[in-house]
Amino acid sequence: MQLENGRYGRAIGAGVHCAGGAVAAWAEVAVAGSADIQITELTVSDHACLTFGEPEELLDLTAAFVRDGLVDGLKVIWLGGGTPAQAVAELARRGIAVEPAVASGQMTAAAWEGSLLSRQAFTADRAMAWLTAQMTACRGEGFAGLRVAVDMSWALRPLTGIEQLPQFEEDLAAALTGTTAAVLCQYDRERFDPVTLASVAAFHTRSVAAATYHADALLRICRQYAPPGIRLAGEIDYQAEEPLALALAEAIRLDEDITINMAALAFIDASAARMIADAVRSLEGSRKIVLQCHPAIAARFTLLGADALPGVSLVIAHDR
């Protein structure tokens, strides 16, 4: 398998179209003076603050960040809560083969312990020392730059030194200025309190979030970045026709091949299924379309004949 080439890498941002409850809550603590940008628009020396509402969204945005970094020849480090093997598998699940990059040292997936944390304790100084060492090593290895994705969920644990988090973010902002390194700090907007989010947001140069077309307790429609397309979660019916049409139209406009990720969709009615089938049909087989869903949802598309259209593949998702 090859890395996807860079044609997805610089799509124009769609922005946030619908302020649902969670989106609105975040908007209050958005970085002053800069609107949300798309994950694919990040550049070198950015200190970006990504907020996400669910693990699937975090992994999608991280995968796009990693993919675009590797395509641009940057060294990429992903600090997350899982094991390195899990990180590699997660990227593979999204069509990004990182084994060659891992083997060559271009890509590293690492744990918090040993990088930001030492024996489950945090100090801003030690974490900064780790990061500057990575930046030095990266220059020595001849990479054009460094990209670091940091899942900040560790800061939700009862660790000593947690009060140094704002200090760390401030030091980070200073350390990145004028360099070819970019850091993407990832905050769960449902779990971090607004005060903490607001206090760290000010130290970031960019605010990143998934383009969201609809978000309420029942349904979420947002862009997916890796692989590109849209993601539907919850239950969808004719009452969401408008945001669904917008999401489909933007996906078709921005990307060549499209994945419609419905793995977390529990219900779809005839109108919504028909709209997706018609959108796919309108492409007349010129592109590859993946409809990813559970068997119960797949049955609806089979009934409409969508699985038999040229270029369309129906991928059955099973519970992870």
């Binding site: 005839a270 109108s271 028909r274 018609d278």
Partner: protein, 174 residues
């Protein structure tokens, strides 16, 4: 009493309709109906309606794939009632000895100006999307997944009935 059945007047029916007395299927007697669920609904309570149908279908031992079909069928009939029948309606599910009959009625406010305006808004608001969904398509889907479907319209409103012949979970192939 003595009328020739061939000359009996027919009620107005759609192309999908059957005689009301056989709405649960021709083999099912109309009398021994056990009430399963009665629920009113409107545009804001379709989710609650689907959840109630799913819960009652599960309780009645309906296997999962069939239960999802029933939920979808009820949703489509209810959505039709909301969009074309005055904005709300009532669901009645009865069990006829192994056949579930899902009957959706609306109050007979036939689609007036406000209901007729809805397809128009879709076409215009979904700016560059050339796929406005076609209402009425839902009935086609119900026709495909239900064992029997009848729709009867009159001055008092529209009644749509979808019937599902059930097997026990053990008989259902895996």
């Amino acid at each position: 009493m003595t009328a020739d059945p061939h000359r009996q007047p027919q009620a107005p029916q759609t192309s999908l309709a059957a005689n009301a007395a056989t709405a649960a299927g021709p083999d099912v007697p109309h009398t021994d109906a056990t009430p399963v669920l009665t629920q009113d609904f409107g545009a804001g309570s379709l989710y609650a309606l689907r959840a109630a149908v799913a819960a009652h279908a599960a309780q009645a031992g309906v296997p999962e794939p069939r239960a999802r079909d029933i939920v979808l069928a009820v949703h489509e009939l209810a959505a039709n009632a909301i969009r074309h029948g005055g904005g709300h309606g009532r669901l009645l599910i009865t069990d006829h000895g192994g056949t579930l009959r899902c009957q959706v009625t609306d109050d007979g406010q036939p689609p007036a100006a406000q209901a007729g305006a809805r397809p128009q808004t879709e076409a215009t608001t979904a700016d560059d999307a050339p796929w406005p969904s076609e209402h009425g398509h839902g009935l086609w889907v119900v026709h495909q997944i239900a064992d029997h479907l009848s729709v009867q319209s009159g001055p008092g409103g529209t009644t749509a009935t979808a019937s599902f012949t059930l097997r026990s979970p053990r008989q259902e192939p895996a």
